[in-house]
Symmetry: C2
Subunit: 210 residues, 2 copies
């Protein structure tokens, strides 16, 4: 993919790559549609969105679950911010629709606890760095909408970490209901099979539809 | 209950009341055990905890679920902060153990969306006011540990709002692993049967064990 390599400008209608293990901030204007493509098929994308006018207002999973009365969103669902106002709409989803809203973004502490020594790329730092590139500082790391992350909930409430059920080219389309800053982090988890059975983090692609 | 009516001082070993529809901040020192009692049996308590040294560090449900690999905690579980460090331990729970970690604190927007006109007490404002009384300002309203809130997750991921299954006098005991500010809000929801089939918000009691 990656037809467009300029890291600062996003041109509507041009697909661009978010490299493996990295994050990217994407300004999306009200009414524009952001398409996120699972290029290789089994890569999790931690997705965040912040009101362009006030980064203390952001896409909130605990408000989403309360509003939808469901753990994760389906096409047609409005995705609310932490003031319960519509921030985005999930227009369509070509994948089987298995996404997670329960699990925090991975961070340095997560990798330490899994036994990793030294630095490890992580979605929390990817978010901070991506926002810093567009001059935004978020008050905290919100719980992400973990696109394609497969965390089944068993009847007893226990959770398991599974490989995605998506396929190469699967994509979601999200409309901005307000000017916002979206952030996608290609989850760098390589110690659990959450990015596929081979545990190899890969890239995602995205496009502001023209 | 309410043997101790002073709103500023909490004496170890003395039970105090958190009035219906209200919140209260409770400083808990490292090693102390906070007991929270469902006096009337069917009252939800929105529970929050902040590091006394830095309120940007707080009890985090998305980190709790990731660490426990379960939706809600059981006795013996360590409850982590948003840096994945132990903040409290759930020592015991005399109730059937049905608590919620999925649903945001109720706020003015929630009641507006449920059709309520004008002001309504809510857990988000209760948190802010309770913290202000002890001179703390939190960066945001974290997702609470909703004690005794009964939100079953169906196989298809849909959620429902049910009356608690706890009984009068049921209590949880939480040990502080660090000096912290706990906040309990007696959920004022009276438009859904989440505080019992009669939808009448009631008080809770609490005690720092002596």
């Amino acid at each position: 993919m990656a037809e467009h390599q300029d890291t600062t400008t996003i041109r509507p209608g041009e697909m661009f790559e978010i490299p493996a293990r990295r994050g990217r901030a994407i300004p999306v204007n009200k009414g524009q549609v952001l398409r996120i493509v699972n290029t290789h098929g089994a890569q999790v994308g931690d997705f965040f969105a912040f009101d362009a006018a006030d980064p203390a207002v952001f896409l909130s999973m605990e408000h989403l679950r309360a509003g939808l009365r469901r753990i994760s969103p389906r096409p047609g669902d409005v995705l609310p911010d932490n003031r319960r106002q519509p921030l985005m709409t999930l227009l369509s989803d070509s994948s089987p629709g298995v996404h997670d809203t329960l699990i925090a973004a991975c961070d340095i502490h997560r990798y330490e606890q899994l036994g990793h020594q030294g630095h490890h790329d992580n979605c929390a730092d990817n978010l901070r760095m991506a926002l810093a590139e567009v001059g935004v500082r978020a008050p905290d790391v919100p719980c992400p909408l973990n696109l394609w992350m497969n965390i089944p909930v068993a009847e007893d409430g226990s959770l398991s970490w599974r490989a995605p059920v998506s396929r190469p080219g699967d994509h979601v389309r999200l409309r901005a209901e307000r000017d916002l800053i979206a952030v996608i982090s290609c989850c760098p988890m390589d110690l659990l099979p959450i990015n596929g059975e081979d545990a190899v983090p890969r890239s995602l692609s995205a496009m502001i539809e023209g």
